[in-house]
């Protein structure tokens, strides 16, 4: 149980909460953003809001890979579900995300072969075991997962696997944070940066936020102690007007990141402009296959016709993802939109802000 209980110890947490209160006294209202969905979940699951001083607000950011995948991506995945002799392999939390008219779960019920995998390597294995089928992997996620998919693609190429391709929906984090930082509608005083993304890209990737926008960043771990310490460090930097990028999660994250993983990632993929659900297009924020790997690009290899996109009315996932609205601001929250019958992606993913609010803080608006 090492690395779990130690970071959930009640005494240490209470001491931190006290320091937080002291630090907050020097400040007006402060708006912080936890970018990563796993932080959102951790904050809700451990009831951490009760430890934050009243003038410190934490909002959720666009760091849930399922939540930021646009409707068109789900609709394309649904089109692959309907394609004959095709197996769609996916990470679990994609299964219930609603597209324009359907979801993977509904397609599965209608007879599609949809299989949840825990790793891209499992998808390769499914392709090997089903040579008569064409296997599409739904490749979503940030810099954390993209290298693993790149590694699988390299393995598929090296072993000559003929029936495997990926529907690439990968996104990269720093351009999205730059977009938030330069949006005048959004005012964030400090970022809790996504820890596992940071393990790959390194702490220095956020330097521009501190240097150009004057916004301090802390890369904090997921445990209660980590989160509270991260918030404390942000408050201190804000009060001292000394914005920096500090690494609290030093047991995992370095300044320079994981160069081996980055090398694999950019061997297979290259940056492109991409669409984020609710936020819109962000320059350089997505990944697409490099020319040499077009054979593994499902959309080039096995083109499908995709239904026209239709976005549900009333859903404010976009504002939630940008941190300008909270789940409870949405008229659909807890009524039309529940984890059982989600309208927006933020309610589906276990890391979505709405799902976290619903599950751990109750359905009442």
């Amino acid at each position: 149980m090492k690395y779990m209980r130690e970071f959930r110890e009640a005494g240490a947490t209470k001491a931190l909460a006290k320091s937080l209160a002291g630090a907050a006294e020097r400040l007006e209202v402060v708006r912080l953003m936890e970018v990563c969905g796993t932080h959102t979940m951790s904050i809700a699951r451990f009831g951490l809001r009760s430890f934050f001083p009243e003038n410190v607000m934490l909002t959720s950011g666009p760091g849930c890979p399922v939540c930021v995948s646009p409707h068109a991506y789900i609709d394309t995945a649904v089109a692959y579900c309907r394609r004959p002799d095709t197996i769609v392999t996916t990470f679990g939390d994609m299964v219930r995300v609603p597209g324009s008219s359907s979801s993977l779960e509904s397609e599965q019920a209608a007879g599609a072969d949809v299989r949840v995998v825990l790793s891209t390597i499992d998808a390769l294995r499914i392709a090997e075991e089903n040579p008569e089928k064409e296997v599409v992997f739904l490749a979503i996620g940030f810099e954390t997962t993209a290298p693993t998919i790149a590694a699988a693609v390299l393995e598929a190429r090296d072993s000559g696997l003929p029936n495997f391709a990926a529907l690439c929906g990968h996104k990269v984090m720093p351009p999205a944070m730059a977009a938030l930082a330069s949006d005048p509608e959004i005012r964030i005083d400090g970022y809790i940066c996504p820890p596992h993304v940071s393990a790959i890209i390194g702490g220095d990737a956020y330097r521009f936020l501190a240097d150009e926008y004057g916004t301090p960043c802390v890369i904090a771990g997921f445990e209660p102690f980590d989160v509270l310490q991260g918030v404390l460090w942000l408050l201190e930097m804000i009060a001292d007007s000394k914005p920096e990028v500090r690494i609290q999660y030093s047991r995992v994250v370095s300044r320079e990141g994981n160069q081996a993983a980055l090398a694999i990632l950019y061997e297979v993929f290259e940056a492109k402009d991409d669409e984020w659900r609710g936020i819109g297009p962000i320059p350089g924020s997505g990944l697409s296959f490099r020319k040499e790997f077009f054979d593994f690009d499902a959309e080039r290899r096995w083109p499908v016709e995709v239904e026209p996109t239709c976005v549900p009315e009333g859903c404010i996932c976009g504002e939630v993802l940008k941190g300008i609205a909270s789940p409870r601001d949405c008229a659909l929250f807890g009524t039309a939109c529940t984890p059982e019958s989600p309208v927006g992606a933020c309610m589906v993913s276990s890391e979505g802000a709405c799902a976290a609010a619903f599950k751990y803080e109750g359905a009442n608006r």
Binding site: M4, P65, V66, S106, Q108, I140, E340, S349, Y360
Partner: protein, 339 residues
């Protein structure tokens, strides 16, 4: 409308959570409505010559068929026995219906049948009738098992599961989530260093010992599909109380907790097949705990929470840090997260 899929059955309709309840309430209950079905208990309550009988059935479709700590056969026997036992009944006899897929290795079937016999022996119950059907290859998934059981309520014993009252202490007879975690680890072929074993076991002797020691146990429930969280939500709703769990007191084995952390899943929602929850009046809590702990299946029994007057949410937990969070019903299958 039932669930999110509109007109089609989704996997969520079978996972013991909200979707399944909606299916029962909106389709099955109206179709079959009668006073014996209406309570929707673990067993139906029948009267015969002044005595009370418990009658129940359950089908088993687990993948994989064999997992550490048990198999589909042991599960089918124990599940039905436990459904009778949580009503306070002593199991009398079981049936066994096998639905086999053409091509199932005979050796697998022999193993499952032997395991059913051994679980029935453990419980001291006989399998007295049965049925066998074979489906063509591809029309079934190797082996499905259905069991039904009847039990007799001992004279003078109150029919359970009953309801909890404010002040009652909530007990469990040991570690949660072992079964769900064992099946998932086996199915996904995780290479774990520590083996996670299912807790599947017949609870009739344990429950008998508890009820002998503390006849005024107010409420019993086996937290199977949907886990501890769903079972306690149901108890709270049926009893019009709020249950507050002490998260730190809930026994979870290290490897199970680690697996859940890794996958972003909550052990409170994993199935148990050898666990029973009991709500007992506070003055009897120590005796009840002692009775559970004196049985091999209750060695790690613990008091994990308390029933209070209803206050906004049916179930909540005091976290390790002293803060509170809501613990809802399971909604759909738990899905492993991306990163």
């Amino acid at each position: 409308m039932i669930g999110s899929g509109g007109e089609k059955i989704l996997l969520a309709h079978g996972s013991g959570g909200k979707a399944m309840h909606e299916l029962i309430e909106s389709l099955l209950l109206p179709a079959f409505r009668n006073p014996k079905l209406e309570p929707l208990g673990d067993s139906a309550r029948l009267e015969l010559g002044g005595r009370e009988l418990a009658f129940t059935t359950d089908s088993y479709v687990v993948d994989p068929l064999f997992f550490p700590g048990g198999d589909i056969g042991r599960l089918a026997v124990c599940g039905t026995i436990n459904d009778l036992a949580v009503c306070g009944a002593r199991p009398l006899a079981l049936s066994c219906a096998l639905i086999l897929e053409e091509g199932l290795p005979m050796a697998d079937l022999e193993k499952v049948v032997e395991s059913m016999r051994s679980a029935a022996d453990e419980a001291g119950v006989e399998i007295v009738t049965g049925d066998t059907k074979v489906l063509p290859h591809g029309k079934g998934d190797r082996l499905f098992v259905n069991t039904a059981g009847v039990g007799l309520l001992p004279e003078g014993r109150r029919w359970l599961p009953g309801t909890a009252e404010p002040g009652d202490v909530v007990l469990i007879n040991g570690h949660v989530a072992d079964h769900g975690a064992a099946v998932m680890a086996e199915r996904e072929r995780f290479a774990l260093r520590a083996e996670i074993r299912s807790d599947v076991a017949p609870l009739n002797h344990l429950i008998e010992a508890l009820l002998e020691a503390v006849p005024d146990v107010r409420c019993l429930k086996d937290p199977t599909r949907g886990g501890l969280a769903s079972a306690l939500n149901e108890i709270a709703a049926a009893s019009a109380v709020s249950i507050v769990l002490d998260e730190e007191a809930i026994p979870v084995r290290g490897p199970v907790a680690a697996l859940c952390e890794l996958l972003g899943l909550d052990p409170l929602y994993f199935a148990n097949e050898g666990k029973v929850l009991a709500a007992v009046p506070p003055r009897r809590a120590d005796e009840a705990l002692a009775a559970l702990r004196s049985h091999p299946l209750g060695r790690y029994a613990a008091a994990i929470g308390e029933a209070k007057p209803f206050d906004r949410v049916p179930l909540s937990a005091r976290t390790l840090l002293g803060s509170h969070r809501v613990v809802g019903m399971l909604t759909g299958d738990q899905l492993p997260r991306i990163c």
